[in-house]
């Protein structure tokens, strides 16, 4: 290969060194099971995450049955109910959302979108998946352990989490903590890979400021996760020691059911700080990849350049940095020093500004666009509505004094489901409809996709929007049974029943999606290499699905940013990043 000049005339550097040959699989086993191909690992991560996510979905049906129709289902007794909510929360946040965005989308898209042949450490990448799978299996094992899984709530607050008034004290909490530790180890292996790949393995011409926002989102989220997860690991290890060896990291002197326990001197609130030092960045670890992906979905399907790309990148980085100094807004009524409230309320509301900017830029991308209402675009629109709604209710909870009456009520449940449950899941679905053709070579069925979208979007909105008002009324969260409570009118119970019916309906609609996923594998319309006429590199591969090594004989060379849609004077309404034509953003 000789030197290549980009359209602006600057020479694109010659490759520094010869390519190393990848480890090519020799058998079915090393091609599909113990694969070192990031694409296969991405699919493995995705399928595992979706499978365990189905467990979380079923758990949510069970808890909604109890909340909507208390007393009807004998098997959902208080211990079972608390086990369901705990496992639902933990699975959704960590084992589904984090794993799917970073392990799934990250693995599949990072090398492809950057023009790389694979991740830089393919073997470690493979290990990452298998350790993740082990973490999932340990988690599932707790369902079958004596006493069942832990029912401590997904926040696992001590001392409750390790005492006998909480289900799963015997085995459940131990398996949960071990599983989390494994997850973090597995994630760290993958995460280091994503970061080094983004920094070191971009193809020629792919400067950082030419990367698609999907990669910016995943990259920043990964850096954050590498910094935030260790806090959880430390917390988990210390709690494990408290539980198994009788240390007192988080355990003060206490009396349980009339018995003096041998703990003493520990700090329960220290765990909360460690947990949320991880837990709040975790919200953005899920949100930033969603922000990135939805930016690309909107730009592609509105045929318009993303508006204010540089601002979008800086907003992602700013949100990532700020998210490390807002954690204690989860703890306004935890009993920490009240003066913390001033600081954390201020930082929390400041983070709303870069977040709002991202929102404006999505809207301004739609504005004066050429909006194709494809299924991915519908999900992107659904994301905007639910994210705005959930983001705005965050301004209630972030503003310390307004949080006081609302904290620990259903308002909080409604808020975080809208903003980090429904909204990111909308993006996940949008992303799956968008990239499925690259993974399989076929499009998902569009009619089924539309039904799936409308039931999921409107249903989820009907579930969570009215729920805020239950919280405003004062209905507390994590109640197995409200029973007779003086200030709760009968109409609130009716609303709960309504929410449960809608939740079951939305749940069933997910089966349509699963069916579509399998049915379209054989019967979907042939997609070709670039069904959406997209500019980014993954759509420019020589084969679809891309082979091992992604690019055949030569890696692509990048001449422009990722958003040259509808460039005046161009032949078509998109110019791929590896197209050297002299129009568009080539500087």
């Amino acid at each position: 290969m000789g030197d290549v000049a980009d359209a602006a005339g600057a020479a694109i550097p010659h490759p520094d060194s010869e390519e190393d040959d990848l480890y090519h699989p020799h058998s079915w086993l090393t091609k599909y099971v113990f694969s070192q191909d990031a694409k296969v690992i991405g699919v493995q991560y995705s399928l595992t995450a979706i499978s365990i996510g189905m467990v979380a979905l079923v758990l949510s049906w069970l808890m909604r049955l109890q909340l909507g129709f208390p007393g009807t289902f004998d098997f959902i007794d208080p211990p079972a109910y608390y086990q369901f909510i705990t496992m639902h929360g933990m699975i959704m946040v960590v084992y589904l959302l984090t794993a799917l965005f970073l392990g799934g989308f990250g693995n599949y898209l990072i090398p492809l979108m950057l023009g790389a042949r694979d991740m830089v450490f393919p073997y470690v990448n493979m290990l990452s998946y298998w350790i993740y799978l082990l973490a999932v299996l340990v988690l599932v094992a707790s369902f079958f352990a004596p006493g069942g899984p832990t029912g401590a709530g997904w926040t696992l607050y001590p001392p409750q989490a390790v005492l006998s008034g909480t289900p799963g004290q015997e085995w459940g909490i131990v398996l949960m903590l071990v599983s989390l530790a494994l997850f973090i180890i597995g994630f760290t292996m993958g995460g280091l890979n994503y970061v080094v790949t983004v920094l070191q393995a971009r193809t020629r011409g792919m400067t950082l400021m030419r990367m698609p926002l999907t990669i910016w989102g995943i990259f920043t989220a990964t850096v954050m996760a590498l910094l935030a997860f260790p806090a959880l690991l430390v917390g988990a290890v210390m709690m494990l020691l408290d539980r198994l060896l009788g240390t007192s990291f988080f355990m003060p002197s206490l009396v349980e059911m009339g018995q003096q326990l041998r703990y003493g001197g520990g700090s329960p609130i220290l765990f909360q700080h460690l947990f949320w030092f991880f837990g709040h960045p975790e919200v953005y670890i899920v949100a930033l990849p969603a922000f990135g992906i939805v930016s690309d979905l909107i730009a592609t399907h509105a045929r318009r350049n993303i508006f204010g790309y540089r601002m979008m990148v800086w907003a992602i980085v700013a949100i990532g940095a700020l998210s490390f100094v807002v954690w204690a807004h989860h703890m306004y009524v935890s009993g920490m020093h009240p003066y913390f409230g001033f600081f954390f309320a201020t930082t929390t509301l400041i983070i709303a500004i870069p977040t709002a900017l991202k929102l404006y830029n999505w809207l301004l991308t739609l504005w004066r666009g050429d909006i194709h209402l494809t299924v991915p675009m519908l999900f992107a629109l659904g994301f905007i509505v639910t994210f705005v709604n959930g983001g705005l209710t965050g301004l209630f909870l972030g503003n310390v004094v307004v949080d006081v009456p609302l904290s620990d009520t259903m308002f909080v449940v409604a808020h975080f489901h809208m903003v980090m449950g429904v909204a990111p899941v909308m993006v996940i679905f949008g992303g799956l409809y968008h990239w499925y053709p690259k993974v399989t070579g076929r499009l998902l069925n569009e009619t089924l996709g539309r039904i799936h979208f409308w039931v999921t979007f409107l249903g989820a909105y009907l579930i969570f929007f009215p729920m805020h008002y239950l919280g405003l009324l004062g209905v507390p969260r994590r109640y197995h049974d409200l029973g007779q409570t003086a200030f709760v009118p009968d109409s609130a119970h009716t609303l709960n029943a309504f929410i449960s019916v809608v939740a079951l309906t939305v749940g069933v609609a997910q089966l349509i999606f699963l069916f579509n996923l399998f049915w379209s594998l054989r019967h979907g319309r042939n997609a070709g290499g670039n069904p959406w006429n997209a500019t980014t590199l993954e759509w420019q591969t020589p084969e679809t699905p891309p082979g091992h090594g992604n690019w055949g004989a030569a890696q692509p060379v990048v001449y422009r940013w990722a958003y040259d849609y509808s460039v005046p004077g161009a032949e078509r309404d998109f110019i791929p990043q590896n197209d050297p034509t002299a129009v568009g953003m080539t500087r």
Binding site: L254, W367, P405, L473, P476, T485
Partner: protein, 268 residues
Amino acid sequence: MTVALILVLVAIGSVVFHWLSPWWWTPIASNWHYIDQTLIITFWITGAAFVAVVGFMAWCVFRYRHRPGQTAHYEPENKKLELWLTVATALGVAAMLAPGLFVWSQFVTVPHDATEVEIVGQQWRWSYRLPGKDGRLGTSDVRLISGTNPLGLNPDDPAGQDDVVIDAEDLHLPIDRPVKVLLRSIDVLHDFYVPEFRSKMDMIPGSVTYFWFTPTRTGSFEALCAELCGIGHPMMRGRVVVQTEADYQAWLSGQRTFAQMAAQLAAR
């Protein structure tokens, strides 16, 4: 077209639901009207933002939907517009944050004349302690808890001898007198939550936390636990009775002090 219409309906429907909802906060019974007012300001600002955003999005979907001949406008950046939007957002955020912080400073500043009241949580019930004639609560320690000393009061502390211990009964408070509620737990986290008072705080074993309020309405108010504390969490109920000064004093005179309670138990 349909999509735009549904988006508009989502925005309008949300606003209509807000106005028609029979589910709204309980009538306030404390001095924290400011909290309610800040919440209302936040509703107005966020509500306007929500309708504006979804409305604009619906209009874009309608106006710029794909039709033959429709082309997108190519405009990578518009610094002026982005600057304006940043400034407008910052102002909106400041309009919510400023009153919020102002009210928070009141929330964390306990008036000097506030009476101290202790609430103790344990799986799964509440106990209370009032300071008695000397106006001071005696010291306590979890290690001192026993069958005869359920709250772990220090028997050697003279300040604690006249403390009124209320076990398995309702807490009574006089109206219009500020109360500093000291919170203590002897096992796990709990949170004493009376929706009508608007204020609440977790109790943490090993520490004493607090909040303050002034009851402004007589009546009987249900207290719940608002921090997951094990399988009995939803059953952990209590009751606060707010009374006129005279009724309160009448009730108080019928209560036992710690010294009396210890003497009775010793006599048995």
